[in-house]
């Protein structure tokens, strides 16, 4: 029998890998012609840059109250009684916890304690995407930080990486939650035990030409959604004519959810 010592084995392996790489370099066009045609067709348009503006004043007036349950119903998000199992796409949190850098002792306690809407910031520089080992979470050309549930292995690195607490893990089978036992939206899949989930800026609704469900359900345009690459869009206008802040900007994740403090006149 031929005997390989360690060095020979490594050499053979290297040659094998190089050979495979060479074959793949020659072949890709024949492997998936359809995929190539699609990406070529898609690149002719200018990419969008989706963003959301949360009007804080209107939020405080309770005009965005319906958003949370509307979103969670639409996306079949399970409701668990235990807090440690909680799954959330959009939720309310005290101002001082969402904006620790902007909170201080002598600010009105009513402001510090006020609940504000929070959701995935769809960062332009998303740390969750950087740490995902399977590329299950990825940034789309239009700025949406998307999840591919089919690839998620539930390692939860993204949960650790996200500075905004926007990601939840499914500790239990979501179909067993009371709310999903009684009412399920056929338009959107559920998730399974062992995957991470979060807000997707309603990518599936945008594809159908609709606004995100939270934006649609908020009263009096308390939430505004649009394309920041379009100078005529409402989000561009609102941001250009007012004063807005973002959560933890010093982390340089470049969040795309803006909180409007005041519309300057």
């Amino acid at each position: 029998m031929m005997r390989l010592d360690r060095r020979d084995f490594l050499k053979c392996s290297a040659a094998g890998v190089a050979g495979l790489a060479a074959v793949r370099a020659v072949l890709p066009a024949s492997v998936s012609p359809a995929a190539e045609g699609r990406s070529a067709a898609g690149s002719s348009q200018k990419p969008k840059r989706w963003a959301m503006v949360v009007d804080l004043q209107k939020c405080f007036e309770g005009k965005a109250k319906a958003c949370v349950s509307a979103c969670h119903q639409w996306h079949n998000v399970p409701e668990w009684p235990e807090e440690r199992l909680e799954v959330k796409w959009i939720w309310e949190e005290k101002f001082s916890r969402l904006f620790p850098d902007q909170s201080f002792e002598h600010m009105p306690a009513t402001l510090r304690e006020r609940p504000v809407l929070a959701l995935c910031n769809h960062c332009a520089n998303p740390p969750c995407v950087r740490v995902c080992p399977t590329k299950a979470t990825f940034k789309r050309p239009d700025g949406i930080v998307a999840m591919d549930m089919h690839r998620c292995i539930g390692c939860r690195f993204c949960i650790a990486a996200c500075p905004y607490g926007a990601r939840s893990f499914n500790w239990k089978n979501p179909r067993e939650a009371e709310n999903l036992k009684h009412q399920i939206n056929l338009e959107y899949p559920t998730r399974a035990r062992g995957v991470v989930e979060k807000c997707n800026f309603c990518a599936e609704r945008l594809a159908a030409g609709l606004q995100p469900i939270c934006v649609e359900r908020a009263e009096d345009a308390a939430l505004i959604f649009g394309d920041l690459n379009d100078p005529a869009s409402k989000v561009t206008h609102v941001l250009a004519a007012g004063f807005a802040i973002r959560r933890k900007p010093s982390l340089e994740t470049d969040p795309q959810v803006y909180y409007l403090i005041s519309a300057m006149r």
Partner: protein, 142 residues
Amino acid sequence: MRLYNGMVIVPGLLIFLAAVTFPFWIGKVRAGEIKTFQSRPAPAGITCVLPKKQMREQHMALLKQWRDQVVREGDHTPVKLVNGQTMELSLTNGCMKCHAKEDCGPYRAHATYCVDCHDYVGIRVDCWTCHIDPMPQIMEKK
């Protein structure tokens, strides 16, 4: 010629042979338990995405291609069916919406149709932990 230790070797060989040929005879032994899947007559006036033979051979590849197209590339362009109608690229709202219709005849229902064949070929499809089978809800509404 003499066989030493025949008492050990002969039964050992028999056990070995039984184990190696296991896949060939287990089917016969358990014939009663194994479901069969019969080819079904085509319903009138309604067609699948591709002709039946191709559908049978390629539906898994097709679904995976659509999945990547929708989820990773964000491309929801509907597909054309054999008869020219269009269909949403979706497991629940494409395939199953039609395969749950009454005019799909013997091709109707996930549980009695898709699963019958998957049982027969011995595979478990895990898509349904997330993707919703609309059939139970349709039945409930009646």
